[in-house]
Symmetry: D2
Subunit: 353 residues, 4 copies
């Protein structure tokens, strides 16, 4: 596919921290090319370079820097739209573009729990894309919305998915230690977090972690989602780490399983993106690391370009069955990269407009 044949895409919320990751990850994408950048009125009309205040470690491509930012609500030529919008505006804006016939691939939380919107992780619940047909009955012009989970949920759900499938998961206690990038560029003041931990994250973070995995690990049957029956208790913390959400988990399975079987199950996990060879798919969705003090955010967050989830410290639990430590790159696998992988699955299924 030559550059000009690549599918044009628009980025909603392009100047924010998730939006910048979209730009970064799509810079050399084999199937998609950034054709339109969309942001709030404050940025609209400026060049992306001026408006973005680029804050990532890689250089902003010149052609993107020169693009004029469109305002949210503007007509778009792209039919594929990635949304990194803040939840304060994402709900209506995404509905709006779906009604104009776009496939809206969103990282926002607003529509995640909607009755016919897939909360999609291609390795885990690719069959949930069947819900798109139902959406297309309520949106005009065959548009639809597909969402990816909360950044912490992404790590937990990928680690639990093979266990749910092979053994059944009954209960999970998890405590998260989340990176500051999860709150957006200006989300956490340095005065608040240096030499500190904040045992709270707003926006219903704990509720999301307790609810979303049930939908993700559940099924789409007879035109509705049915939740998986597992119960989760989540306690969240913000720590002075740039990128990478780390979490401890204590898990109770429905059946019995020796630790060796649990480990083999995690290590051998693979899914639809791996079978299809999707461009952003990690070779192994789960990296089990055989060292007593891993995974660690700074050392392991970038495995497979930030698209692999790392797991370690599998050991028995005095109360439930076993414990483990899980790490996910919150702004790549847990946000922009997740949405791009979702779009790749949809493209390979012929579901993009």
């Amino acid at each position: 596919m030559t550059a000009s044949e690549r599918i044009p895409v628009a980025i909603l919320g392009a100047t924010g921290s998730v939006g910048q990751r979209f730009i970064q990850l799509l810079a050399d994408h084999p199937w998609f090319r950034v054709a339109e950048v969309v942001a709030s009125d404050r940025s609209a009309g400026k060049t992306y370079g001026e408006a973005a205040g680029w804050r990532l470690e890689t250089l902003l491509p010149d052609d993107i820097a020169a693009m004029t930012v469109k305002n949210l609500g503007a007509d778009l030529t792209s039919r594929l739209v990635f949304s990194g919008l803040d939840s304060s505006v994402a709900g209506d804006a995404e509905d709006d573009y779906a009604n104009r016939g776009c496939a809206v691939i969103s990282n926002a939380r607003n529509h995640r729990m909607d009755a016919d919107v897939p909360l999609l992780i291609p390795e885990v619940n690719a069959s949930h894309v069947d819900a798109i047909a139902t959406q297309q009955q309520r949106f005009r012009n065959h548009g639809y919305i597909v969402t990816n989970p909360n950044c912490s949920v992404m790590g937990l759900a990928i680690a639990l998915a093979p266990l749910e499938k092979e053994f059944g998961v009954e209960a999970v206690h998890t405590t998260t230690m989340q990176a500051i990038s999860g709150a957006g560029y200006a989300g956490v003041a340095s005065y608040a977090i240096l030499d500190n931990v904040i045992p709270y994250i707003g926006g219903g973070e704990e509720d999301k972690i307790e609810a979303e995995p049930r939908k993700i690990l559940g099924s789409w049957t007879n035109g509705r989602f049915e939740d998986a029956p597992l119960k989760i208790s989540a306690q969240v913390n913000r720590v002075p780490v740039i990128d990478g959400h780390l979490m401890t988990a204590s898990v109770k399975l429905r059946g019995r399983a020796p630790l060796d079987d649990v480990r083999r199950c995690l290590e051998s996990f693979t899914g639809e993106p791996q079978r299809l060879g999707l461009p952003s798919a990690p070779r192994h969705p789960i990296h089990y690391i055989d060292a007593q003090d891993r995974p660690q955010p700074r050392l392991d967050r970038d495995r497979e370009g930030g698209m692999a989830v790392s797991v370690g410290r599998l050991r028995a639990c005095p109360l439930l069955d076993f414990r483990m430590v899980v790490l996910v790159h919150n702004t790549i696998r847990g946000a922009a990269g997740a949405a791009i992988l979702n779009a790749e699955l949809l493209h390979s299924r012929g579901l993009l407009p």
Copy 2:
């Protein structure tokens, strides 16, 4: 009590991070005065000022700076000995000084689980001092050893103590986020922890957190310790925080208790040090903080000079009964301050040699 009437004390391991806290906290103590500083052969013979490389925020008192460091094993004139020794040498050295008739008040882990050594928190299990008489039958010259718990255990045990007494505690899941000072001055390399979390702490940290509270909350009856029956699952992490161990806890009680009763129980907790008015006793051993994002290490670790444990975010748990967040200053209440409070209790009971 005039300065010269204060009880002379020796500090073992005086140059290390716990040793420096002993010096700092005893600087203006009404009952005790530092008379001897003891360290390894490397430091012995130097002045304390030279040997210590003082690293705390308050100034090293001139008289202490001028003291000559004695080597471990040297004869001491003090009968009250505080031990901040590393566990690699603490075991034998503490036995040795106990056999010479000293009261050895130790922060090291070596003797904590010994069959007749109190693992003492004066607010929680002051009656455990009765075990001293048993020790004095095996040590010569009426010496004995009293220990304080692991730094994380201190926070957890104080928070659980009133609940155990009033409702009974059946099970606890806890994940700790521990400050780097807990590993001693050079324990954690900056290259290892900046922009990072390490989900592991050596020396059997998780085992200690799972075992010590059972002894602490248990009883000394008929010449032996009987453990409390609670079960704990602990997962530990090192975070880039200077001082203050924060931990999440999910708790199952034996009986039922509304959250309001749990909170009242925590807030009204008081113990022997408060009744006796011991010099280092906090007015309130537990500070319940009524804010959704507290306690936080940097903001709350110094409450009551670092001797109060802070608790917050009490709320129901989807799996067990309730959840909370606990904070303890690991090198004050969780180490040197704990030992000093122990010595104060012993003095008030007339148990010091």
Copy 3:
């Protein structure tokens, strides 16, 4: 002086980071008591506890927490007004209260360089208070404004003052490494500064450091300020430190002086606040620290309650005469504490309304 006899003061900008320091430092002040807290319309009408979101390590006093915040511009009963206002509003507001007859003791930059406003450091230029009489001719009701310098300037000016007096200072190269608290609570995003240094501070920081010391070290003669002739080149940086501005300085004197004389000159520095025994005065305005790796922000910023400036590493310079390292607690000696000391000088001189 009993509590009720203490002089009532108002704090402008009471909810901001400097405002909170005013509250903290005045909590047990022997001469002043906080009687009124003033902030923007957003906070006005709320209790201070609600409005402030208290962020310091000490507890907010209950009586202050219960005060109702007045809006900026409201009539005040206090005649002594401390201003921690942001520079976007400080200029007019301070003029306004001066015109109502208040002594406005300001930390804001707006009036620092005004032709008749003292830029006061009581140890350095106490005689500049003579300019107040000139001000009282233009302000109605005998009100006036006294300012303290920029937080970095405070460290530099105190370190240079005895040298200027004894030897004359000709030129200074300085590079600052400034704490994040200098930018206010939300001033520096954690995503911007973790694992990073930012070689820039807005608001004309370098210009201030190059200009203010000239006024401070100059004289008030014949009804006007005359600048000291020294030249300064300042390069500023923001570093991931909570409190404490550290700076390197290379200095050229007018005369020749051996390093020993320079050191003696620094160590023996004392001034009006020490002679008068003002409540907030450090015993020694400059602590010379005799260790090759000091001063350090975390270890030395709190000397004398944060009111002493620390100096170390005095050594020859291959280009100018000598080099040194200077540290100042930016929100205490460099802001709120500076203003309080200014007010104490004015009170002792009988210049308060």
Copy 4:
């Protein structure tokens, strides 16, 4: 060149932090392949995987992990030897291998100032390789040593080189803010540097920064090095940053030059590695960044794989001619990458054994 045709190299000090960077940077090198890993007796005999405790963000290649570590002093088959040895052992060990006929490309400081050893930066002083012939008269078997400068010097010397050539540099004041990785893995304790800056670095850091650029910018004529006449005053600091040394510089030129000419001179700088197209050469040795708050360590250290030096904030100085901010990746361009580029130059000149 196929993999088997690549030149075999040995890494001395392979398990240390510079050694690990050598392994990482040589993983896919087109000309060189790591054939031998050498370390102290403590590591010798173990596999590299066991001995190294790999601490970089990229994965350790399996074939390197499986290599057996040789002890320092062992016979080597490689004739090209990279040294990341600690200075406590580098001096003799490097002499030893040179005497055995190896080209020793060293990052250690021991031989940098030797009378016939090039202190080589290929963009700056490629002609200094002529000194090798002199060395080969004293070392047996035609071996020799080539060194690269101190990590901070690398940034400064590259930024000064084009200015020295075009205008002449007379004097430089510099203050560095250096990353903790520069001290090796365990070099800086986290307790020492979190929420702190340390205004001192051991091992004669300031002396090196003042001396090495004079040799680098000087000439090799008539069988001896002649220093460039510039004078430097350096003040060093350790800051809580993982990688990337940032420094402020104030510069006096011999001639006059408008700022625009200085900038053009910096931006257009290019050298031998660029002309030869050496594999590790950055396209532009200097990236001038046109933003008021750059360069910053975290955002700019990885430009061109960490091999480009970033410069920004060029502006007039009230005392000398102009000021600027310089950034260098201390363990890539300032250490392992520097040595590899040196070896590439030697290979292209036909000077490798």
